[in-house]
Symmetry: C2
Subunit: 271 residues, 2 copies
């Protein structure tokens, strides 16, 4: 298998049960950015562990606080039911490497109805109209020469209208639009949507190119079961202040339904 051969998401999120609520996992060295596993990938592993406990089948809300970035390789994932309810359950999940905690999350699970129609919305951004085939695939080396191995795994395409950052001409709007597909076109589910809300480059690249923008906190809501196919993503920054930025992310399935939302607080050196 060449370095760039895609490994399915279901493979890089495999969990081996060691004891009730305790799992072993292997963080893939290919699902990395500058050698570090993507934060949404880590949250998806915690979400997968949570739904494996059979409280309810779908993650509907997950909030992660990132303690330290693990290296690719073996980790343990623990998950504990805080309350098992009729319509929703809450769980705590955490990942450790070499006995050191890396990320902890609180997760609410429930049942998402495949047939539900949205009742009301207002103020959501437009998903955009750019076609998948016109969007530009992000390569696995960024404009600053940093290896982004994960881009050989997923297919992340950016709408040309928001691609200025890649040629050193950020628009200043702090907004990226595009598409995301898992390797081998594996359909998204509520667990992989936890990755999708953190998959895009920092929206701040459309303000100014910087080094790594490490996530401190990431909250994801999964709002519907996605139709198969690539998802549309809008990722935008809101406020940069005191070397922190908050970013919001919206994910629509290819039928145009909002399926996930993310909000994160990240550290950044700007200004």
């Amino acid at each position: 298998m060449s370095a760039a051969s895609p490994i399915p998401f279901s493979t890089v999120t495999e969990l081996t049960e060691l004891a009730p609520g305790c799992f072993a996992a292997q963080l893939s060295d290919r699902w990395t950015i500058a050698g570090k596993p993507n934060g949404g990938y880590l949250l998806a592993l915690l979400g997968k562990a949570a739904v494996s406990l059979d409280t309810h089948p779908h993650v509907i809300a997950a909030s992660a606080h990132y303690l330290r970035s693990p290296e690719p390789g073996p980790v343990t994932v623990n998950v504990e039911v805080l309350r098992g309810g009729r319509s929703a359950s809450q769980l705590r999940a955490w990942m450790a490497q070499d006995g050191r905690p890396c990320v902890e999350a609180l997760i609410t699970t429930s049942v998402l109805d495949a047939d539900v129609e949205p009742y009301w919305d207002c103020g959501l951004p437009e998903p955009g109209t750019g076609a998948h085939e016109h969007a530009v695939r992000i390569p696995s080396v960024n404009p600053m020469g940093t290896p982004i191995a994960i881009m050989d795994q997923v297919e992340l395409r950016i709408d040309p209208a928001t691609l200025g950052f890649a040629s050193g001409r950020p628009s200043g709007a702090g907004l990226l639009r595009g598409w995301l597909s898992l390797p081998a076109a594996e359909p998204f589910d509520p667990v992989s949507l936890l990755y999708a809300v953190d998959a895009f480059p920092p929206a701040t690249f459309d303000i100014e190119l910087t080094g790594w923008v490490p996530t401190l906190e990431l909250t994801a809501y999964v709002r519907a079961l996605p139709a198969p196919g690539p998802v549309r993503v809008l990722h935008r920054a809101q406020l940069v202040s005191g070397q922190l930025v908050d970013e919001t992310c919206y994910v629509w399935d290819c039928a145009g339904r909002l399926v996930a939302q993310g909000t994160q607080l990240a550290a950044i050196r700007l200004g």
Copy 2:
């Protein structure tokens, strides 16, 4: 003291240390909505316990998952440092009543610089221009006759332009604007801002009046130290689907600086 006498926020969030990281608190029966303590008030208690551990002085991010609603009265609050870092620390805090967990939160603490100027923002809603004195104070009984005791404690004023719900004429925009003050004009701080992001009535009241809209998950980011005085609040719903709604909340100090943001997922019976 009459039933309506305001009790300071610092009093209703008093913590008595029982052991390292373990505190007793009394949930006030006046900081309630239909007899149940407000969810942001509970998160503020967890945040206060977190900063009392002296890792860093300010909560900058807090994510709570609500397990069951406690009654007014005694609770215990536990807090544990997950990682104490140089620039930020992460903690886990939880509240229990009669030995049953009620709410658990992950909290990141750091230092907010009083003098920092925002570097960049885009897409933030406007704070609005409605004057404090023209906004209408919300009474402690809602239009459906439900007692909202907390409204005799805080001063929550709604801009007349978004007050249609109170007379049975919601605008359909799912948006409320107004002002919030703590009892006796106590200045806000990062801990009480955790309450502020959940203080307003459900933004869905501006779509359709319903019963209680219980919060499942609440994430708050504190972005700056607030100037003394009332804060401006914009609280809006985004998507109602499958009997869940997500709401976002923006809080500005009276100098016009965005000091806190909240996002929540709540259960609702609409449609």
